[in-house]
Each structure stands twice: as structure tokens, then as C-alpha cells.
Symmetry: none
Subunit: 248 residues, 2 copies
């Protein structure tokens, strides 16, 4: 097989499968691995593929730029935009932490007058940027990783609040397994929040739907509203709609 033919074939395979192995190609085309390596090197030189140890990857295999940015920011902004519309002047709003909640915080209208109650220090910082919003921080022992306050004191404080709305950043959710998480203390806090709020709103990128973690927070029936970046009639959301959750 001619060099050009091989190159075309390899390129096709890479774009088809997002990855190729040198050993695999060598077998398929019946040339030495050396030749394959040289081919891959050339294609990589031309910028058509990304050469790695053992084979090559498709160009669309992003791994470089997305580092600093929050994962899936655009999706989260879409979600935040929908969520903001639920908040009205004078409301008491309970929120957890997480990057989606942070987006929500940044997107609050400047003239909104409401009270936000949170256990998340980063979220509190964000809320503090809004002059008209009153921020209540729930105090207790600080969990190092998530930077939220946790403990009996926090739980009981949360339960003393009758909130109009409760926004939960989501870790994992499944129509059958319900809302789940992997951090014991976070689970406790979320449970308390759910129990004391009139409306429970889950903010979740669609990627986290139909997944589950070890610890259960609640059944999907306890959730009133689910907000994802998808359009409300999306097929992926059907199971949740069937359970009686309002989809935005």
C-alpha cells in the first residue's frame, strides 16, 4: 500500500474512532510499526492528528485548554439563567455550594431584593457582590474540601428557617435511585434544606442525570423542579417528568 493511501486510511480511522493504536494499524495495513510511527509523525507534523505514546488521537480530543475554566460553564450559565427567574423580591432562598450555584449567584439581577442563606463560603462571597441581597451564613465546623459548614449546629439552624426556595447543586441523580452524593456531610445539609423549603429546585447539567453515587439524599418525588441546560421537552428528561417533577 502506498504511503498516501496509508495516510488517508489512518486519518479516516482516527476521525472515526477518535483514537488509533500503532500496533493495531500495523496489523491492519500489514506494514511494520516503524512505518506506522513515521506516518503518524508526519500526520502529527501537519497538525492533522495528535500523536501520543502508543498511537494517536483525533484533534477534537480536547485536553489542553479547558483546564482553568469551570467545567461546562456555558451549560451552567444556561441553567442559572432559568433558575434566576424563579426568584422574586422578598424571598428567602436556601442554597448549597458548587459551581452551578456560583453561576447562579453571578447572574442574579442587580435590583433583586432577597435573602440568601447558605452554608457555602464561596457562594456567600458571590452573593456578597450584590448590594441588594441580604446574605446569611450558616455557621459551624468548616469542611475543608467543599468549603461548606457542616454539623449539628448548622443542620438545626437550617431547619429553623422556612425558606421559599431551595437550590441544590447536583452531584448525581437518577429517576429510580433519586438524588445521591458522595460526601456524608453534604448529604446531611441537603436533607435539612429539602425538609425546610417550600419548593426544592435541583440544578444539574444533563451529564449528571442518570448517574448515582453512594449516599442517598432523597427520592426524586421530593424534588419540585429540575433545571438542566436541555430544552424541557428533551427525551432525556422524560423519566423525571413522569415522576411528577416540573422541568424547566
Amino acid at each position: 500500500m502506498l504511503k498516501e493511501e496509508r495516510h488517508a486510511y489512518i486519518l479516516h480511522q482516527v476521525n472515526l474512532h477518535n483514537k488509533v493504536l500503532s500496533s493495531h494499524l500495523s496489523e491492519q495495513i500489514q506494514v511494520s510499526e516503524d512505518t506506522i510511527r513515521r506516518d503518524l509523525a508526519e500526520l502529527a507534523q501537519e497538525g492533522k492528528i495528535i500523536k501520543v505514546h502508543g498511537g494517536a488521537l483525533s484533534n477534537s480530543f480536547h485536553l489542553g485548554i479547558t483546564s482553568q475554566d469551570v467545567y461546562a460553564v456555558e451549560d451552567k450559565k444556561t441553567i442559572a439563567l432559568k433558575a434566576v427567574q424563579l426568584i422574586q423580591d422578598g424571598m428567602f432562598v436556601l442554597t448549597t455550594g458548587g459551581t452551578t450555584i456560583a453561576e447562579l449567584a453571578r447572574m442574579l439581577p442587580k435590583d433583586l431584593q432577597a435573602t440568601f442563606i447558605t452554608v457555602s463560603l464561596p457562594a456567600a462571597f458571590e452573593y456578597a457582590n450584590h448590594p441588594n441581597i441580604e446574605v446569611i451564613v450558616i455557621g459551624d465546623k468548616l469542611a475543608k474540601g467543599s468549603k461548606i459548614t457542616v454539623g449539628g449546629e448548622a443542620i438545626s439552624k437550617i431547619k429553623m428557617i422556612k425558606a421559599d426556595l431551595c437550590f441544590l447543586g447536583n452531584n448525581a441523580m437518577d429517576a429510580n435511585d433519586g438524588l445521591t452524593d458522595n460526601d456524608w456531610e453534604v448529604v446531611q445539609v441537603k436533607r435539612a434544606m429539602i425538609s425546610t423549603s417550600k419548593k426544592v429546585v435541583v440544578l444539574s447539567i444533563s451529564e449528571k442525570l442518570d448517574t448515582a453515587e453512594q449516599l442517598k439524599i432523597c427520592d426524586v418525588e421530593e424534588i419540585d423542579i429540575l433545571i438542566t441546560e436541555l430544552p424541557p421537552n428533551s427525551k432525556k428528561l422524560q423519566p423525571y417528568r413522569k415522576k411528577g417533577i416540573q422541568i424547566l
Copy 2:
């Protein structure tokens, strides 16, 4: 599976769930935990994740705390260095906020085991970087400017704590006028802290000595220790020494 594929997978998982366990990944990808650990180390090296004992965390939530150029950092570091020596294992330490306190927080020995109680969110963030330190956040309404929690609830919570040590960042101090400040709510918090601590330590750059603000916190007699960047026998400190304050 290629190394780059694994990296992409891991990164995806971390960003999705904010946290991954080495053991989990090892099982999912079907490679040894050693390999996972090396992968995590590499990704951490590139700053894409934060490696911790047992797994890794998402780095996306490390914003908010911009250590902007602090006025007179060197002086404040000198002060912090002296202050650190007062803290011993097992102590309960109350602190306010402020940049000097932040320096103190950064300078705490890694192996110090103590409990820090604070109303200052920025300070809490700094303390949270120390694995052996337990951080208690006092909750209440958040004061937007200073990012500290203030209010009756906070005051009464502070008074319930019997602290060994109390570090006060200083705004203005004078041998005759005592400790003063210009923020009503900060004054309340500081008063409460003084009243419930065995030892009261004031951290102040010398520039703020011999000045006064409108609101009085306490007389100098109630202060046990004064720490400045000056040598203890400095002339400027004489009036305070005469009032019976220990100078470091």
C-alpha cells in the same frame, strides 16, 4: 487504554463530581492504583486538578480569594511571625478578619493542631488550607464590605466559646483612647471576643498606633499582648508598656 485517554476520563470525572477516589478510578479503568496515582500527580502538576490523599478534587472552586497587594506585607509578616509563637496545640483561638490576620493564617505551622473560630470568611478560607486545624465559622448576617458575619446571633455564639487566645486585627489604638474602630458591627464582635477570651492579643502595624476612631471597643488595660513590627523596646511602644501591656 492510552494514557491520554485515561487523563481525559479522569479529568472529566473530577469536573463532573468534584471529587474522585484513586481506588474507584483504578476499578473503573482497570489499571493499578499506582498508575492512577501517577496520572493524578501529572494532572495536578499541570494544575488541572488538586491531588489529595486518596484521590483528587476539582480545582474550579479556588477562586474568590485574590491575595491582592496588601499594604505593608512585610511588616504584617513580621507581626504574624511573632503571633504564631503564642499558639499552642489544643488551643481555641478566636480571630477577627483583616489582612494581618490573613498573614497569620498563612504562617501557621503545618503540624499545629488547634481550633480557630472566626467570623471572617476570608480568614476561614486561609485556615482551611491547614489540614490539622479545625475551623469553626460563626454564622449570621454577612457584612458585605468586610466579609465578616455580624449580628446578635454571632455575638451570642461567640460568647458561648471560652477561647484561650483572641487575635484582634487592629484599626486604631491609642494609649489613652483605647482600642477604637469605625464600624459599629465590627465593634460589637470584637467586644464579644474580648469578653470571652483568656488572653487578648492585638496585632497592629505601628502606623495605627496613637490614632483613634469614633467607636470605642475597649480600654488598653483589657489588652494583654500587643504585637507590632517594631522591636519590643522601641520608644513608640513605651506608653503601652506603661499601661501594663506585654509587648512582643
